[in-house]
């Protein structure tokens, strides 16, 4: 099964919409609750990163019996140093975003902890691609 969602950069009132839709789909598919929790945390953080740091993005969701694959492609500033960005506490979030409670630099570490496979590639000035895989079978 495949689904596609659009994400608008800067639009915090819609942040989390795709994650919420995917959660509903996984519930309908009777996916194990513990797996849904992990998938939702990882997807939400990646979705919000597009809202907070990029201009716009597309989320492709691909589910089969073995695994769920989430691919988030955005056009935005990109991540110049991915290793650094992965460090807990590292954030370039603006003051405005921080006042909302984002910008703790914990999003990417949260994704890492909850994904079975995480691949990030990025081109500075162009955009970022985040691939998250969670296995659905023990």
């Amino acid at each position: 099964m495949q689904y596609k969602f659009e994400v608008e950069g800067g639009n915090f009132s819609k942040a989390g919409t795709a994650s919420s839709e995917v959660k509903k789909i996984l519930n309908q598919l009777n996916v194990d609750y513990k797996l849904i929790k992990r998938i939702v945390v990882a997807l939400y953080e990646a979705e919000v990163n597009i809202v907070a740091h990029a201009n716009k993005g597309i989320i492709d969701v691909d589910i089969d019996t073995e695994r769920i694959k989430l691919v988030l492609n955005d056009s935005g500033p990109g991540i110049p140093n991915i290793e650094k960005a992965m460090e807990a506490g590292f954030s370039t979030a603006t003051q405005k975003v921080r006042e909302m409670g984002f910008g703790a630099g914990m999003g990417l570490p949260n994704i890492k902890r909850n994904a079975d496979i995480l691949n990030i590639s990025s081109e500075t000035g162009k955009g970022t691609s985040v691939e998250i895989i969670v296995f659905l079978k023990p």
Partner: protein, 110 residues
């Protein structure tokens, strides 16, 4: 303990999400950093925060939290109220600061 028992015992204000007042509380979480809550709050927790915007409810819903308590007399934004009603997760309010209300809720839950 259910959300409505805590509301009654502590005289909390109910802003929205009345349909969720019978939810059972599994514990609490206190933080204003959203990705910390996303990473560490547990299902059924009551979340104490000073954040008032809609993303709080997005997180509460994704994490299946029992209720949100907004501290220091702050008021939730209109789209947060809407989402709270939709998701049936109550937004509660208190004039107390996080430290004080957390202590009281902890006493009731422990």
């Amino acid at each position: 303990m259910k959300v409505n028992e805590i509301v009654e015992k502590l005289g909390l204000k109910i802003f929205s999400g009345e349909k969720g007042l019978a939810k059972e509380i599994s514990g609490g979480y206190v933080c204003d950093l959203l990705s910390d809550v996303m990473g560490h709050a547990d299902q059924g927790n009551i979340w104490i925060t000073l954040q008032t915007h809609k993303n709080v409810m997005a997180i509460a819903s994704l994490k299946d939290l029992a209720a949100v308590v907004i501290v220091k007399g702050f008021e939730p934004e209109p789209d947060a109220l809407e989402k709270s009603n939709e998701e049936e997760i109550p937004i509660l309010g208190t004039d107390l600061e996080s430290f004080e209300i957390t202590g009281k809720i902890y006493e009731l839950l422990k």
